[in-house]
């Protein structure tokens, strides 16, 4: 839902980032207000996951220029755990397997870290079990997954559901979901989309990274952005995604070439 007077949650200005010596993000601009749902699309390798990981604070990426403000604070100054505690959530494109660490304990420690930040009391094992069982319903996940190691041996779809479960527990203000829809069967896609819709409200915002219209049929975006070569090349409403579905990304090349002639505008 677009409300021009809604508070700005996340503001990305001219963000440049590199990994090792390779520049990947080359001037990303994006403003997200409370209540909005944004979709970011774009070719493989255009920098979508890089953007999400830079926002979450992955140490492999170095920000070389630009700024990001989150709820008025300088996001880039915050440690990754601090960003999470303040309500920034990244649903990973490739959730990480952690052998030997119990999923239940992981979820509890993580939830308590966020609760402590919000001034809420920490939940003991019993209270947390109640909460997690209730939130499991959002993603229709079998409680048996709680007793396993974090993501270890989970199928692709199970890992994605585990991500949404974490989101349901952490109640983020800004949720970035990186291809949470890929690898899901049709039922799971609906379950995940229902989950995201349930959690989306007037006070928070969602950034969906996706390749497919089928997700956007279930979660209606307020804005659709097309990323190319490390920047946002075009922004539109939900109809932009439909147009992409018809026309593909060929126009991107032309636009990039013409931008290439006017480097001042790109950089």
């Amino acid at each position: 839902m677009i409300r021009p007077d809604a508070p700005v949650l996340l503001e990305i200005c001219d963000l440049h980032a590199r990994v090792e010596e390779q520049p990947i993000l080359k001037g990303v601009n994006l403003t997200i207000r409370a209540g909005e749902i944004h979709a970011v699309m774009g070719r493989n390798g255009s920098g979508k996951s890089t953007l999400s990981k830079v926002l979450a604070g992955h140490p492999a990426y170095t920000v070389t220029a630009g700024s990001v403000s989150y709820m008025g604070a300088d996001l880039l100054e915050l440690a990754p755990e601090q960003r999470s505690r303040l309500g920034l959530f990244l649903g990973f494109q490739y959730p990480v397997e952690i052998p030997g660490v119990s999923n239940l304990e992981f979820l509890r420690v993580s939830t308590n870290a966020r609760r402590a930040q919000r001034g809420e009391e920490e939940l003991d094992t019993f209270a947390f079990e109640d909460l997690v069982r209730e939130r499991l319903k959002v993603v229709q996940m079998d409680p048996a997954f709680l007793d396993r190691s974090v993501n270890e041996g989970f199928s692709g779809g199970e890992k994605k559901r585990n991500e949404i479960l974490q989101m349901a527990l952490l109640e983020p203000l800004v949720a970035i979901l990186d291809e949470t829809d890929s690898g899901l069967d049709i039922d799971a896609l609906r379950i995940v989309a229902d989950g995201v819709n349930q959690l989306a409200g007037p006070d928070n915002a969602t950034l969906l990274i996706t390749h497919y219209q089928r997700l956007l049929d279930l979660i209606t975006p307020d804005y659709v952005h097309v990323m190319a070569a490390g920047r946002i090349l075009r922004t539109g409403g939900k109809e932009l995604a439909l147009e992409l579905e018809r026309t593909g990304y060929e126009w991107v090349d032309q636009e990039l070439t013409s931008l290439g002639r006017e480097p001042a505008e790109v950089l």
Partner: protein, 365 residues
């Protein structure tokens, strides 16, 4: 008072092993030599032991014969740690297990008393017998515990043997485990050792006619100036034997970890299936890890896999935890615990109540 090195030489009847011996190349005995040259004189740890159903004592007249038989089969007779033990007036416990026995727990805590404590355990599992045995070592002072355990597994016998040994920075542990396996027997040996100035584990297993199962799980932790060494050896003296071995190390501080995993597959041991994996986690730049598989394979129709990795905590795993609000330090601790848990959860069930992770990591809650 004699000097400790001379005293130890006298007990063992041979000079102290030095760096020129391959078996001891990386493992100096400074921690032992720093101890007072005397025998430990605390309360006999075997004095008040009540045995569960299915377990009986073996008569003293049979003990030596059994020991010789097993040590000969595993090649343990000449080991320096065995000789030292035999010369140090060992206290001996000899047990026979028939049928499915109740779990047994033995606790050898050298406490704060100084000196060398020598213990011998003789264990015979008769045909088809089964036992869960947890041996717990401990110390809180400048002493050394020497254990020589000799185990004979009859046909179809099943032994789940755990050794949980949280130590003390002034104490040493020398543990020699010689185990012979008849066909169709199965051995699970899980060892978890950490916190000793010096520890040396020597699991020596012989599948007498092959066709047995051996599963080895080990966790070895070093920190500070500690030195931990495991020299394992598995011999297959017949066909169709199986080995599944995982050796894990956590090396922190200026700790030093040594692992040598010998697997011997002579021509008679066709169709042997052996896998050995050694994984080391380096938590500090000053820590040092030496790990070496030693495969001696003569038979041609066998599967023998081995691998060794040395790594630091995985950045991606750390970041995943951090991205969920878990601070870097707590995230590292969770990962470390997960790493250890893979081995610890395989200890016999009785270990769970002891919280082995806490004992070994010396965590302050």
């Amino acid at each position: 008072m004699p000097n400790t090195a001379d005293w130890l030489t006298q007990l063992a009847g041979v000079p102290l092993p030095g760096r020129s011996q391959e078996e001891w190349r990386f493992t100096g005995l400074a921690a032992l030599e720093a101890l007072a040259p005397e025998l430990w004189s605390g309360v006999d740890p075997f004095a008040q032991l009540s045995l569960p159903a299915g377990i009986s004592r073996i008569g003293a007249d049979q003990v030596q014969g059994l020991q010789q038989q097993v040590l000969k089969a595993t090649g343990g007779s000449d080991a320096w740690s065995v000789r030292l033990n035999q010369g140090a007036s060992p206290r001996c416990l000899a047990l026979r297990v028939a049928g499915a026995a109740d779990p047994l727990q033995l606790h050898f805590d050298a406490g704060a008393a100084p000196g060398l404590l020598a213990l011998q355990l003789v264990l015979v599992l008769e045909e088809g017998a089964s036992l869960d045995l947890l041996i717990q070592h401990g110390s809180s002072g400048p002493n050394a515990t020497s254990l020589v355990a000799v185990v004979q597994l009859g046909r179809g016998a099943q032994l789940n043997l755990g050794l949980l040994a949280p130590g003390d920075a002034s104490a040493s542990l020398l543990s020699h485990l010689s185990i012979s396996q008849a066909p169709a027997s199965s051995l699970q040996l899980t060892t978890a050792v950490g916190g000793w100035a010096l520890s040396r584990l020597e699991p020596c297993i012989s599948q007498l006619d092959g066709a047995a199962q051996t599963r080895l799980r080990a966790l070895q932790l070093v920190d500070g100036q500690e030195l931990a060494d495991t020299h394992s050896q598995v011999r297959f003296e017949g066909p169709d034997g199986q080995l599944d071995q995982l050796h894990k190390v956590v090396a922190d501080g200026a700790g030093r970890s040594v692992f040598n995993g010998a697997v011997r597959v002579p021509r008679s041991a066709q169709q042997t299936n052996a896998a050995q994996l050694s994984r080391s986690l380096l938590l500090s730049d000053r820590a040092r890890v030496d790990t070496k598989p030693e495969l001696e394979i003569v038979a041609d129709d066998v599967k023998c896999a081995h691998g060794a990795t040395i790594s630091r905590l995985q950045q991606n795993e750390l970041f995943y935890l951090q991205s969920r609000g878990i601070g870097a330090e707590q995230a590292s601790r969770l990962l470390l615990r997960g790493y250890c848990e893979e081995v610890l959860r395989e200890l016999p069930a009785a270990a769970a109540a002891l919280n082995p992770l806490k004992l070994l990591l010396r965590e302050h809650p």
